[in-house]
Amino acid sequence: MSYSVTDPSLRQKWGAGILVITYALITLLPLVWIVATGFKSPADSIAYPPKIVFQPSLEGYVNLFTTQTRASEETLKALGEPTTWYDKIVRAKNMMIAGPSRFPERFFNSVIIGFGSTFFAIVLGTAAAYAFSRFRVPLKDDLLFFILSTRMMPPIAVAIPIFLMFRHLGLSDTHAGMILLYTAVNLSLSVWLINGFIDEIPIEYEEAALIDGYTRFQAFYKVVLPQAATGIASTAIFCLIFAWNEYAFAVLLTSGNAQTAPPFIPTIIGVGGQDWPAVAAGATLFLLPVMIFTILLRKHLLRGITFGAVRK
C-alpha cells in the first residue's frame, strides 16, 4: 500500500471508472444502433418504440450485396425451389435476385483510394519532414507555414476549380485522381505531424550511425525510422480516416468508375423503398477497415518506450 499524494482514493477510482464507462456508452450507442439495425428486418428497423430484442436477420446484408427485381408468381414458380439461404430470404418477399450489387466494387474503390493516398501522404510526408528537420532548407519556416496554410481553408472551397482541372486533365472519376487529391490534402498534416516527431529524435543517433559505418539513408532507415514509427503510425491513422470518410469530393468527382463507398451508401436507400437494414449493413462493413488498421498499428501507438538514451 503506497501513500503517495497522487494515489487516488477508492471513491476517486470509482468516480473515474463510472465517468469513463458512461462516456464509452454514449460514444458507442450510435455504433451499436447501426450494427444492430444491420441485422434487423425492414419492419423491425422502423418500429417505434425501437426494438431492443429482435429476431436477427441477414436480409439487410443480402439486400446490400444483391440487386433484386419483383417477379410474377409464374416466373417464381418456373424458377423452382430456392437453393441457397440468400435466395430463400429474397423469395420470401416475392422477389428474385437479378445480380450482384455494386457495393463490393465501391468498397474496393474506397480501399484502393484510402490506403493508396495514405501510403503516398506518409512516404512523401516522412521524406519532407526529415528534410525539414535535418537539413538547412532555405526559407524553412516560411515553407512550413505555407504547407500548413493550405489547411486553413476548407478544401471544398476550391471544389469548382479542382473539378474543372480534373476534367481537363482527364482525372475525373479515376482512382489516380482521387489518390492524388487526398494525398495533397493529407500531405500538410503528415509533414507537420511527422516533422514534430522527427525533431524530437536527437541528431546524435544518426551521427553515431554515420560513424558506425552507415550511409545517411541507412542511418535514416535503421535509426530514425524505428524511433519515428509511433508518430508515423498515428499520422497514418489520421490520414486514412480523412481519406476513408471524405464525402464531398467523392460525390463531386466520382460517379461510375472510381466512386467510393461514402457517396454510394446513401443511394442504397432509393432501391426498393427505404431499406435501412441494407444501409446499416453497408455502414457497418464500412467501419471495419479503419478499425482493423488502427488495431494493427496500436502497438506503435504506445509511446515512451524509445525515449531517453541520450543524456540531455
Binding site: I211, Y214, Q218, I305
Partner: protein, 331 residues
C-alpha cells in the same frame, strides 16, 4: 591504426571562430588528450576528424591520405559521444553489434558474437547484454557506448569525455582498462577530457586548446613542468597552480607581472609568514589554504600535519614560474 594529422583546421560557426588554424599530429599508437575549458574547440576538433563537420580551411590526413570530401563511414573512425547516443530501440547486444553489421565491416555472425562477449567482459556489462539500451543506468549506458567503439578496429578512436558520468571507482577502473587496451592494441586515441588525472595518467601527448587555438602540445610532464603560459599551467595540477603578483616575493625578474606556484614550488618553514586559514585532510595529503599578504593560495602538506587554522607558517617560492602581463611564461 594509423597516424592522424590535422593540418591548419579552421572552423567558424556564424561569427564565432570555433577552431583557429589548429595543426596536430597524432602519431600512430599514441594517446593524445585535448584539454581546455568548455568552448575551447575540443569537441569541434573531434567532429572534424570524424567527418561529422567539415573544416572551413585545412584538412585531416589519416594514414597520410587526405580525408577531404569523405563521409564519416569512409574514414573508418570510431567515436564515443559525450551524450551516450545508444540506439534506444535496440538491445545492448544489438547496439554493440551495430557497427560490426555495417556495410563497411559486414562482420560474420560468430565473429560478432566473439567480439561482443570480449568487450562486454572488459566493460563489465555481460549481464546486461539483453537489456534494452534505455533500461540502463547512466554509467552502464556510457560503458556500452565505449564498447560500441571498442568492438571495432578503426584508424583512430575519438572519445569525447567518455568517463565523465561514471562514479569514481568505475572511472579509475576504466581509465586503467582503456590505457591497457590502447597499449595492447597499439591503438591511436584522440581523447577529450576536463579531468587532469585522465590526462596525466593516460596521455602520451597533451594538446592545450584556448578559444580554438592550440597553445601547447607535448607530453603531460612537459606541459606540467614547463607550461608556456598561465593558461597552460592552470590546465594541469591538483590543486591548481597559484598565480600571485610577482612583487610579493623577492627575486622576481624585472618584467615579471605574476608568479606561478604549484604546491611543490612552495617551500614551507622558510621565508615569510603566512596565515593558515583552513586545513583540509584528504587522507593521503592535507591541503593548506593560506593567506599571504592578503592573497589566498593553496598548497599541500604532510598528511599527518598538526597545523590548524589560525597558525602561522613560513613560506618561500622554490623555482617558481614567472609570467609577463599577457600571461606568457618568462622563466
Amino acid at each position: 591504426m594509423a597516424e592522424v594529422r590535422l593540418d591548419g583546421l579552421t572552423k567558424k560557426f556564424n561569427d564565432s571562430v570555433a577552431l583557429n588554424n589548429v595543426s596536430i599530429t597524432v602519431p600512430d599508437g599514441s594517446f593524445v588528450v585535448l584539454l581546455g575549458p568548455t568552448g575551447a574547440g575540443k569537441t569541434t576538433t573531434l567532429r572534424m576528424v570524424s567527418g561529422l563537420d567539415t573544416p572551413d580551411e585545412g584538412d585531416v590526413f589519416i594514414g597520410g591520405l587526405s580525408m577531404k570530401g569523405l563521409t564519416p563511414a569512409q574514414r573508418n573512425v570510431a567515436m564515443v559521444f559525450q551524450q551516450y547516443s545508444l540506439y534506444p530501440h535496440l538491445t545492448v547486444r544489438d547496439n554493440l553489434a551495430f557497427p560490426l553489421k555495417s556495410p563497411l565491416l559486414k562482420t560474420p555472425a560468430d565473429e560478432i558474437r566473439r567480439k561482443i562477449s570480449e568487450v562486454a567482459e572488459i566493460l563489465q556489462i555481460s549481464h546486461k547484454l539483453d537489456n534494452k539500451a534505455t533500461a540502463l543506468s547512466g554509467g552502464e549506458m556510457q560503458r556500452v557506448s565505449i564498447g560500441r567503439a571498442l568492438v571495432r578496429n578503426p584508424a583512430i578512436y575519438l572519445m569525447d569525455e567518455p568517463l565523465s558520468s561514471l562514479d569514481a571507482k568505475l572511472r579509475s577502473d576504466l581509465r586503467v582498462e582503456l590505457k591497457n587496451i590502447q597499449a595492447n592494441l597499439g591503438a591511436t586515441f584522440l581523447y577529450v577530457t576536463h579531468d587532469q588525472i585522465e590526462a596525466m595518467t593516460m596521455a602520451t601527448h597533451v594538446g592545450v586548446l584556448d578559444e580554438g587555438k592550440l597553445v601547447q602540445f607535448g607530453t603531460p610532464r612537459e606541459i606540467y613542468e614547463n607550461p608556456i603560459s598561465i593558461y597552460s599551467a592552470s590546465r594541469l595540477g591538483q590543486p591548481r597552480i597559484n598565480v600571485l603578483p610577482a612583487h610579493l616575493f623577492d627575486g622576481a625578474p624585472e618584467n615579471a607581472h605574476s608568479i606561478g606556484l604549484r604546491p611543490e614550488q612552495i617551500e614551507q618553514g622558510k621565508g615569510e609568514d603566512s596565515l593558515v586559514t583552513r586545513v583540509e585532510h584528504l587522507g593521503d595529503q592535507t591541503r593548506l589554504h593560506l593567506s599571504f599578504k592578503d592573497h589566498d593560495l593553496i598548497t599541500v602538506t604532510d598528511a599527518h600535519t598538526r597545523l590548524q587554522s589560525g597558525d602561522i607558517i613560513k613560506i618561500q617560492p622554490e623555482k617558481p614560474f614567472y609570467f609577463d602581463a599577457d600571461g606568457a611564461r618568462l622563466a
